[in-house]
């Protein structure tokens, strides 16, 4: 088709496939180094706990973001995969004495498989119908686990305390630092995975489906297949957070593991930070999780739901003034997909 190669075309072809903003790379490097060194600054137990919660919720929101932000499907039932991850490690450790490290992998596998089974029928639904279907399936999971004796019914599973082999049992009773590093590794790993996904052929196809599924279809993309792939990846990212939390509190019950609040919270974090942007879930978690944790401290128990009121107000403000999330306040040149103009 091309007869004469123009100078501008040659110039364009010589451009790198991806631009890396030096400033943002330096900032990321400094943040990662600070996070790695953080426990050496003798922080309080609460500070370690708070950081862990931020990491875990950022990963969970990133999981939701892969589905909603990249392929445009709004899920209200992501707690399903958190619960499966939590139950997988607990069940296999309690009943079969399989180390939680293997349990995490099993949880990831089961979550991916369940996402595929759920996804095949419901990903044909669009918009609100898909969201409602995920919400109801999420509640169904909670009800099934409440009535399933093999997994402890409503009482759930109590993970026996093991002080002899902390690494094998993934139980660290003297300090929370090990949990901190485990969640940090998943946080960095997930960020890197989603960063790669964003730049892959799969990323291009998912974004195309999100923006215009008919146009994507006219460009040879099997829309249903790629939506299922996104759902499976999203579920597999979510599951380990359930596993880690189960090992952290040593109890898994259906009311907490499959709680719809988890599904809503990961949505709120992503919306606040910025849906469809790799930084969005991180920014959202950094803002919302401390509000939740501090309100628990100052108001006791579950924080009298003060955090939910604050979330609501913040989300309304964001929706009115920054619908693209807080990430849109960051100059474009610092964001990942900016190209040289």
């Amino acid at each position: 088709m091309i007869n004469n190669i123009s100078a501008k075309l040659l110039e364009a072809k010589n451009e790198p496939l991806w631009y890396f903003n030096k400033n943002s790379l330096i900032i990321i490097g400094v943040i990662v180094l600070s996070l790695l060194l953080f426990p050496f600054a003798s922080p309080s137990k609460f500070a370690i706990h708070l950081m862990m919660m931020i990491f875990m919720h950022a990963v969970m929101a990133q999981s939701w973001n892969v589905l909603a932000g990249f392929s445009g499907q709004i899920s209200l039932g992501h707690a399903i995969f958190y619960g499966i991850g939590a139950y997988a490690t607990a069940y296999f450790y309690v009943k079969l004495h399989i180390t939680p490290w293997i349990g995490i992998l099993i949880g990831i596998g089961i979550s991916g498989f369940v996402a595929m089974l759920i996804g095949i029928p419901i990903l044909r639904l669009k918009g609100h119908y898909f969201a409602i279907a995920t919400l109801l399936i999420g509640i169904s999971f909670q009800v099934v686990f409440q009535r399933w004796p093999e997994v402890g019914s409503s009482s759930g599973l109590w993970i026996p305390i093991n002080r002899d082999s902390p690494w094998t049992s993934m139980q660290f009773h003297k300090s929370k630092v090990a949990y901190y590093y485990i969640s940090l590794i998943f946080f960095i790993g997930t960020f890197f995975l989603v960063w790669l996904l964003n730049r892959s052929k799969l990323g291009y196809r998912l974004r195309a489906i999100r923006d215009q599924s008919d146009a994507a279809s006219s460009l040879g993309i099997h829309v249903s297949k790629y939506k299922i792939i996104a759902f499976v990846i999203s579920a597999m990212i979510m599951a380990p957070m359930g596993s880690i939390y189960a090992q952290y509190v040593l109890i898994v019950d259906p009311n907490n593991a499959f709680n719809v609040d988890i599904s809503i919270l990961v949505l709120l974090i992503s919306v606040m930070g910025g849906v469809g942007n790799i930084w969005g879930p991180i920014i959202g978690a950094v803002i919302l999780i401390p509000i939740s944790e501090f309100s628990r401290i100052y108001f006791g128990g579950t924080g009298h739901s003060i955090d939910l009121i604050v979330y609501g107000v913040l989300i309304i403000i964001i929706c009115i003034f920054r619908p693209a999330g807080i990430v849109s306040l960051i100059p474009r040149s610092f964001r990942e997909r900016e190209k040289a103009k």
Binding site: K8, A12, S217, S218, L219, G220
Partner: protein, 241 residues
Amino acid sequence: MSILLKVENLSRSFGGIHANSDISFDVKEGEILGVIGPNGAGKSTLFDLITGFTKSDRGQVILRDKNITNIRPDLICRMGVGRTFQKLKPFADQTLLENVIVGALVNEKNLKVARDKALEIIDFVDLIEKRHHYAKELSTGQRKRLELARALATDPKLLLMDEVTGGVDQRTIPGLVELVLKLKKNGITVVTIEHNMKIIMDISDRILALNQGKRIAFDIPKNISQNSQVIDAYLGTVDAA
């Protein structure tokens, strides 16, 4: 010229409305086939039926020797049929280059190769300087070119273009027409829906005229312009004028 696409008795109704009734025509390799008809004649439905976006009630669509009736749109694309939409569907939050890369990935496994191919096509549609602009930042005419570039990136043998000059300003139209003729020169068979009669008469080898879901004429432009049914339905009668 051999037959690239053959449409036989293609029909589709929505409730009691016959959007397409027994439409038959063929498209020869390398030609430009114009499709005309007043609003609601069934032109866009015909494109949707050919490209699998709407299932037909009866009739068939044959691409070379393959029956592609009611096959999924993505498979039809992979068989060499590209299309643009009447109501533009750009990936608004992505750059022009990213839009076209999505099309290039149909046949290219390597992302860098797909990027280079996308750049060549963007250059072909004269938008190379806008490659890093978000689709939502482009003008209507530029978005028409974007859609064309995206479809071209899939290496179509047959390209269906739905109102390529619709909704753009007068100064942009000659460039778009030139682009369609450039496609023909490059061996791409084009079926184009167009409301601008002067353009369609100038660029088409043959014209298919529809009215109220039915084929009323299928001939060379000169004969179409003299066809009484077409004049009645589309151009208006002398009495009416």
